[in-house]
C-alpha cells in the first residue's frame, strides 16, 4: 500500500520527477507536493482503489498529508467499515 500510494503521488503530482524525494513522514503541504485540487484527486483515488468512503470532514492534514497519515487513515476506515 505504501509503495502504491507513493507511486500515485509521484505519477500524479510530481510527474515522475526522480529528484523530488520525500519520506513517509514528510508533509505534502510543506514539500509543496499537493494543492487543493490535488487533494480532491487523491481522495478520488483512495475511494476507488481502497473502497473507503472519505467524508468532507476527513479532508484534513491529519488524515491525508503524508504517506504515514494516509496509511493510518485507510486502515482506520477499512476497519470501521
Amino acid at each position: 500500500m505504501r509503495q502504491e500510494l507513493r507511486q500515485f503521488i509521484i505519477d500524479n503530482f510530481l510527474f515522475g520527477q526522480n529528484n523530488a524525494s520525500f519520506s513517509d513522514q514528510d508533509s505534502f503541504l510543506e514539500k509543496g507536493i499537493i494543492d487543493s485540487t490535488g487533494v480532491l484527486e487523491l481522495v478520488e483515488f483512495l475511494q476507488n482503489r481502497y473502497g473507503i468512503y472519505v467524508r468532507d470532514q476527513d479532508l484534513i492534514p491529519e488524515n491525508l498529508d503524508s504517506i504515514d497519515n494516509l496509511v493510518a487513515f485507510i486502515q482506520r476506515q477499512t476497519k470501521a467499515a
Binding site: D35, S36, T37, V39, D56, D58, L59, P61
Partner: protein
C-alpha cells in the same frame, strides 16, 4: 503615513489584543511589534539602508509577517517571492532588483544554494531555522531565532528614514515578455489602496480575517496589511489545500472576513456546506478572476447573512472596483464601480471616453497607481500615461469593459494573451520558454482553456522535433522542475504543426481555436 504605521499604531492602541494566529501560535500586537523591531535593528546592523531591496522567500508564517514589517521599519523595500518558486526564477528576481538581503527558511535552502553564491549584490541571509550554506566571501548567514528570541537587539522601533513617496514594495507579476516585472509601489500607493478597501469593506477592529492566499500575491499580502491597519486579527493559513481544515478555522476562530478566488469557491461548493452556518462570518470577497454567477447564487442561498463582494483589480494599482453587496442579486456579473478616492473610466483606442454600452479600455486615476515597473521604462510607458495634472500618471489596464447606464462595469476581455488560472496571472511566454528548453520540442504554444474549477486551465501544445519521442509525462515533469506549481500545464497536446500568422510567428489565438476544435 508609512505602511509600517499600520502595525505601530495598532500596537500602541491595543498592545495586548491578538494580532496574528498562525497554526498553534497566537501573537499579540505587542509581540508582533517587538519581533519586527528586533529584526529591523538586525537588518540595519547588517548594513541594509533606506531603499535597499530585501526579499522574503517564506511560506505564509509568523516569520513572513515579521519580515515584511521589519524591512519597512528599516527603511527598506520588501518583495515577497512565492515559496514554490524554483531556483532559476528566484535567481532572476533577486538579481533583477539587486536584493541586498534574503529572509527564508530551511526547506528552501536547496534552491537558495543554487543561486545565491552567484549574486554579487546579495550580502546577508536570515534563515528561520538551522542552516548551513556554502556562500560567497561577501555573504553571511544569520539565524532568525538568535534575533527574535533574545534581547540582542532592542524591542523599540528604529528611527524613521523614509517618507511616503519612497518605495515600500516590489511585487513581481507575470509579463507578456515572459520575464516577471517588479511593480513599484510607494508607501502612499499602499496606504491609499488599503484605506479605500477597508472603507468599502466597513472593516473594524472586531474583524478577524482568514487568509489562505500566498503573500507573494498582492491579494494575500493586503490581508496582512489591512488586518493590522484596522487593528483586527489575522488568521494566517499556509494554503487552501485541506478545505475542511479551513472550514474548521472559520468556525473555531469566529472569522468575520474570508477573501477567496473562484477556485476556492469551486472546491468549497463541491463539499456539503449545508450543515454549516458560520454565524460570525460577515463578508466573503472575490477577485483575481471573474466569480461565476452560479457560485454567487449558491453561496447566497447557503449563507444569506454573508455579504459577498465581487471585485476586480490588478497589481499595478492593487484594486480597481467592487460591487456593493446590495447589488449582487441585481447584477451578479458586474464587478461594480470604482472604489472610494479613485476615478475610473473607459476609453476607445484614441483615448476618448466612451459612454454606456460601448466597449473600452479601463483607465484608473488615483494615488494608489504604481510608479512603474522596476527598471523597465518601455513596459511602464505602455501602462502609465500622463493624466490631466502636471506629473500625474494614469493606469491603462489593458482590460476591456463596458458600463451599464448606472456606471456598473462588466468585464469583456483582455488586450493581451495573459492566462488567469487559479486566480493567478500566467504569461504563456514564460511557460513556452521552459518548454523550448526540452530537447525534443520544435515548437510550443501555451493557451488557456475554460475550466470549471481553475477558471482557465493551462494547456501546452507542442510540435515534437523529428526523431524525438515525447510523452506528456516527460513534458510535465520538466515543467514541474522549473515552474511554480500554478504554472505547470494541466494537459499537453502534440500536433504536427502550429498555426502561424502572416509574419510566420505562432499565433496563440489560432492555436487556442484549433485545439478547441479538436476536443
Amino acid at each position: 503615513m508609512q505602511v509600517e504605521a499600520f502595525l505601530e499604531n495598532s500596537a500602541q492602541k491595543t498592545p495586548d489584543k491578538i494580532a496574528l494566529i498562525c497554526g498553534p501560535r497566537r501573537l499579540t500586537y505587542r509581540e508582533v511589534e517587538e519581533g519586527a523591531n528586533r529584526l529591523a535593528h538586525s537588518l540595519l546592523a547588517e548594513g541594509i539602508e533606506r531603499g535597499d531591496r530585501v526579499a522574503v522567500y517564506l511560506d505564509n508564517s509568523v516569520e513572513a509577517v515579521l519580515a515584511i514589517f521589519a524591512i519597512l521599519k528599516a527603511g527598506g523595500v520588501f518583495l515577497v517571492i512565492n515559496p514554490t518558486t524554483k531556483a532559476d526564477k528566484l535567481g532572476y528576481i533577486l538579481n533583477n532588483c539587486r536584493a541586498r538581503g534574503l529572509i527564508t527558511d530551511p526547506p528552501k535552502l536547496a534552491d537558495v544554494q543554487r543561486v545565491v553564491p552567484n549574486l554579487p549584490h546579495l550580502a546577508r541571509l536570515w534563515v528561520a531555522g538551522p542552516a548551513s550554506l556554502t556562500l560567497a566571501p561577501h555573504q553571511s548567514l544569520i539565524e532568525l531565532s538568535e534575533i527574535l528570541n533574545t534581547s540582542a537587539f532592542p524591542s523599540s522601533a528604529p528611527p524613521k528614514t523614509c517618507i511616503d513617496i519612497d518605495l515600500a514594495a516590489l511585487i513581481y507579476t507575470s509579463g507578456s515578455t515572459g520575464r516577471p516585472k517588479g511593480v513599484m509601489l510607494t508607501h502612499l500607493n499602499i496606504v491609499s489602496a488599503a484605506t479605500s478597501i477597508t472603507t468599502y469593506l466597513e472593516n473594524t477592529s472586531d474583524d478577524i480575517i482568514l487568509n489562505v492566499l500566498p503573500l507573494a500575491f498582492d491579494y494575500g499580502l493586503y490581508q496582512v496589511l489591512m488586518a493590522f491597519k484596522i487593528g483586527g486579527a489575522l488568521v494566517l493559513e499556509r494554503s487552501f489545500t485541506y478545505p475542511y481544515k479551513v472550514i474548521d478555522l472559520l468556525l473555531r476562530e469566529n472569522v468575520t472576513g474570508f477573501p477567496i478566488v473562484p477556485t476556492i469557491s469551486a472546491v468549497l461548493l463541491q463539499l456539503d456546506l449545508s450543515r454549516f452556518h458560520f454565524p460570525s462570518l460577515r463578508y466573503i470577497t472575490n477577485t483575481a478572476a471573474a466569480w461565476p454567477a452560479e457560485h454567487i447564487r449558491r453561496l447566497r442561498n447557503l449563507f444569506p447573512h454573508v455579504k459577498l463582494y465581487s471585485m476586480y483589480g490588478l497589481t499595478e494599482c492593487k484594486r480597481v472596483s467592487y460591487l456593493p453587496p446590495d447589488q449582487i442579486d441585481i447584477r451578479p456579473t458586474s464587478i461594480g464601480r470604482g472604489m472610494p478616492n479613485e476615478e475610473v473610466f473607459l476609453v476607445d483606442e484614441h483615448g476618448n471616453r466612451v459612454g454606456p454600452g460601448v466597449v473600452g479600455e479601463l483607465v484608473v486615476r488615483g494615488s494608489h497607481v504604481m510608479k512603474g515597473y522596476w527598471e523597465l521604462p518601455e513596459e511602464t510607458a505602455k501602462m502609465l500615461k500622463p493624466g490631466p495634472l502636471p506629473g500625474e500618471m494614469m493606469l491603462y489596464t489593458g482590460d476591456l469593459f463596458r458600463a451599464d447606464e448606472e456606471g456598473y462595469l462588466y468585464f469583456v476581455g483582455r488586450k493581451d494573451d495573459i492566462i488567469k488560472t487559479r486566480g493567478e496571472k500566467v504569461s504563456p511566454r514564460e511557460i513556452e520558454e521552459v518548454l523550448y528548453a526540452i530537447p525534443g520540442v520544435a515548437e510550443a504554444a501555451v493557451v488557456g482553456v475554460p475550466d470549471a474549477v481553475l477558471g482557465e486551465a493551462i494547456r501546452a501544445v507542442i510540435t515534437p522535433r523529428e526523431g524525438f519521442e515525447l510523452t506528456e509525462h516527460q513534458v510535465l515533469r520538466h515543467c514541474a522542475a522549473h515552474l511554480e506549481d500554478f504554472m505547470v500545464p494541466k494537459s499537453v497536446v502534440f500536433v504536427h504543426s502550429l498555426p502561424k500568422n502572416s509574419n510566420g510567428k505562432v499565433s496563440r489565438r489560432e492555436v487556442a481555436a484549433y485545439v478547441e476544435a479538436r476536443t
